[in-house]
């Protein structure tokens, strides 16, 4: 590796880092505005035109705050924890393709790299909570570790399903750019909607968004693992969380929505990053929309949901895909028919799951409807 290529990589990483920061600013502002509109409010509107400088103002305020560290806390680990949380998420940016030619590191096992790095995000949370030497923080980090570990499985299994499908089109199915190219004809969300739903649930849980945000439930443990951090150190956690959100959304667009594909994207290559960004934006908006009306799940309900519902369904998803592909290859059925069969089976299982999840609710509501007409 020559000096110039090394310096080029440094420059690119620097640009990516700044993009991440600006992106986080934009996403936080967008979240506040979108949530406000979903609640018939206005959201930030005074700092800067239409309030776009609101996050900057918050960041400046955080920087100006006093940096408090609990006396009994472990100094080194306390200061290291925000970095340990942020770094794995940012390392994922190395393999995400911006368009058909631009990717920092075009490795053939991109998906495996993603799965491995996601596992590291647990370490930072545990370090943060443990080093704070506070009961609330310890509780928060314990909950968060359990949640992150449990919900990695559906995430990785559904990504694995995507890899299996991409096998139809290329020899290196785990390369993220190849996965995008495999979706030229039809995005994978239409082929395996069940996989998309599972990936979204896993992504929401990994980034600790509602309905899975028990790790920093304001109402009970006031901040969870980050309760002892003040000022810009706490700001770093927010940065890490929203970078994670952006990363997961980009991954979801790449794996399921067709990445940088779109009308005229092959000829006009400058459209490709725009398509990717708009699909990412769509997923991020979906996350905001899910946040507004839904309550959060309790920790044991969360774990029960993961291990008793989501993980078996992710295995079911894999079984559907692999058996369809295998029988398709054996019987010589064309690829499109195989994909159609997978889609059909996915939708049927989604409907069945939806029916069974709502059973308790229906029982309680029927009780009331019988008494009061429609409540």
């Amino acid at each position: 590796m020559t000096l110039t290529s090394f310096l080029t990589i440094i420059a690119i990483v620097f640009v990516m880092f700044n993009t991440a920061l600006v992106g986080v600013l934009a996403v936080i502002y967008a979240e506040r505005k979108v949530l406000a509109r979903l609640q018939q409010r206005i959201g930030p509107s005074r700092t800067g035109p239409w309030g776009i400088l609101q996050t900057m103002a918050d960041a400046v305020k955080l920087v100006l705050k006093e940096d408090v560290r609990p006396a009994e806390s472990d100094k080194v680990v306390f200061y290291l924890a925000p970095l340990v949380i942020f770094t794995p998420i940012f390392m994922l940016w190395a393999v995400l393709p911006l368009d058909s030619t631009k990717v920092l590191s075009d490795i053939d096992l991109g998906l495996l790299y993603v799965a491995a790095i996601l596992g590291l995000s647990v370490v930072g949370m545990v370090l943060a909570g443990w080093s704070s030497n506070s009961k609330y923080a310890m509780l928060g980090s314990a909950r968060s570790a359990a949640q992150l570990i449990s919900y990695e499985l559906p995430l990785i299994l559904s990504a694995l399903g995507v890899g299996l499908l991409a096998q139809l089109y290329s020899d290196t199915p785990f390369n993220l750019s190849e996965i995008v190219r495999a979706q030229l004809s039809i995005p994978f969300i239409f082929v395996m909607p069940l996989g998309f739903v599972l990936f979204m649930i896993g992504a929401l849980a990994e980034t600790a968004r509602i309905p899975f945000d028990i790790p920093h439930a304001d109402e009970e443990i006031v901040g969870g693992a980050f309760v002892e951090y003040s000022g810009i150190r706490w700001g770093t956690f927010q940065l890490a969380e929203y970078t994670g959100l952006i990363t997961m959304s980009v991954l979801a667009s790449i794996l399921f929505l067709g990445g940088w594909n779109g009308p005229f994207s092959e000829k006009l290559t400058w459209l490709q990053p725009l398509y990717l960004m708009s699909k990412t934006g769509f997923i991020i908006l979906l996350t905001f929309w899910i946040r507004a009306p839904l309550p959060r799940l309790r920790i044991d309900q969360l774990m029960a949901f993961a291990w008793k519902v989501i993980i078996p369904i992710s295995f079911l998803n894999l079984i559907i895909i692999s058996s369809a592909l295998f029988t398709g290859k054996q019987l010589g059925i064309s690829d499109d028919v195989v994909k159609g069969i997978i889609a059909l089976l996915s939708i049927i299982s989604l409907l069945l799951v939806t029916y069974f999840i709502g059973r308790r609710r229906r029982k309680r509501l029927n009780n009331y409807r019988a008494r009061w007409g429609s409540n």
Partner: protein
Amino acid sequence: METKAEVVKSANPDMAELRINMGPQHPATHGVFRMVLGLDGERIISVEPHIGYLHRGSEKLSEGENFQQITTLFDRLDYVSNFNNEWVYVRVVEKAMEIELPERAEYIRVILAELNRIASHFLFYGTYGLDTGAMNPSMVGFRERERIQEVFEAVSGARMMHNYFRVGGVKEDLPDGFVPAVGNLLDHLKRGYDDARDTLTESEIFIERTADIGKLSAEETLDYGVTGPILRAAGVDYDIRKADPYSIYPELDFQIPLGSHGDCYDRYMVRMLEIEQSIRIVEQAISRLPDGPIQSKVPRIMRPPEGDFYVHGENPRGDLGVYLVSKGGTVRPYRLKIRGPSFSNLMALSSMLENVYLADATVILGSLDIVLGEVDR
């Protein structure tokens, strides 16, 4: 009898109980209320509630104020449902002095008190949504409450601390355009109620969080002296408006929602259905509002005769009772005792919090719907 904490500790003698202080400043305790929880992992094994952070000496202050001035104290008791508090107080003085009210005053009182009940239940809805983690319910709840408070401002001049009910009637007549304004308000409230119902009531996650949590059987509620929606959620058919009716309630047609399981979801449902019923009551009262005077002849300086008088009324939180001891001929009461419903409801907390998760503590406390102004007075 051994408490659960003692049982657990005697079973594992070298276990350290994790003590967490859900302190007076906490986003989830509805007001300044402190709970010292003993946790075993995520399960609560002991709870020590501490109250008194909002004690303002209302009962003692009322011994130094004239009967006309005490209404201002009662506004601030349960600061969310002001008209209901004022109503119970003026009823006890009217009972002592044997004053009868003109009909228009009774109707005005019922309309305003029921609107206040709707406002209080919407506040419960908003804060309960926040307790379980949803953000939209709080906005919906407070939006509807703002609409109601605008009507209150037009009638009494203040959005919350009205000081509008007087012994013998109300302070001044309703403003022009009140009836169409209330009709308009009720339409908005029905739509807001639909929004509220669609957001939380049927949500699976909400039902998971609140169903079968914090159960209180009917005998337990009666033992603890719990009243209000919690009692009705446990299945006991007791509402003072039907059991011991006052004012014009016998002439109005409404139902009392009853639960069956006695858990948090039932309490939530009872309050939601009570909003519906209160809308019905207000509609009936508005359509039958008679003309006439709004205050009966009452002396400027009131001196109730000697005796003990007790009156209770159905507040949104339960059974608010006021006990007046009068020595006869004085302008100030000798003793005014307030039976706060939230105080009695809070007594059932320790039994409900046995062996539940920490996350459920917030949900159960929210379902009790306490207001610290009433607990501490």
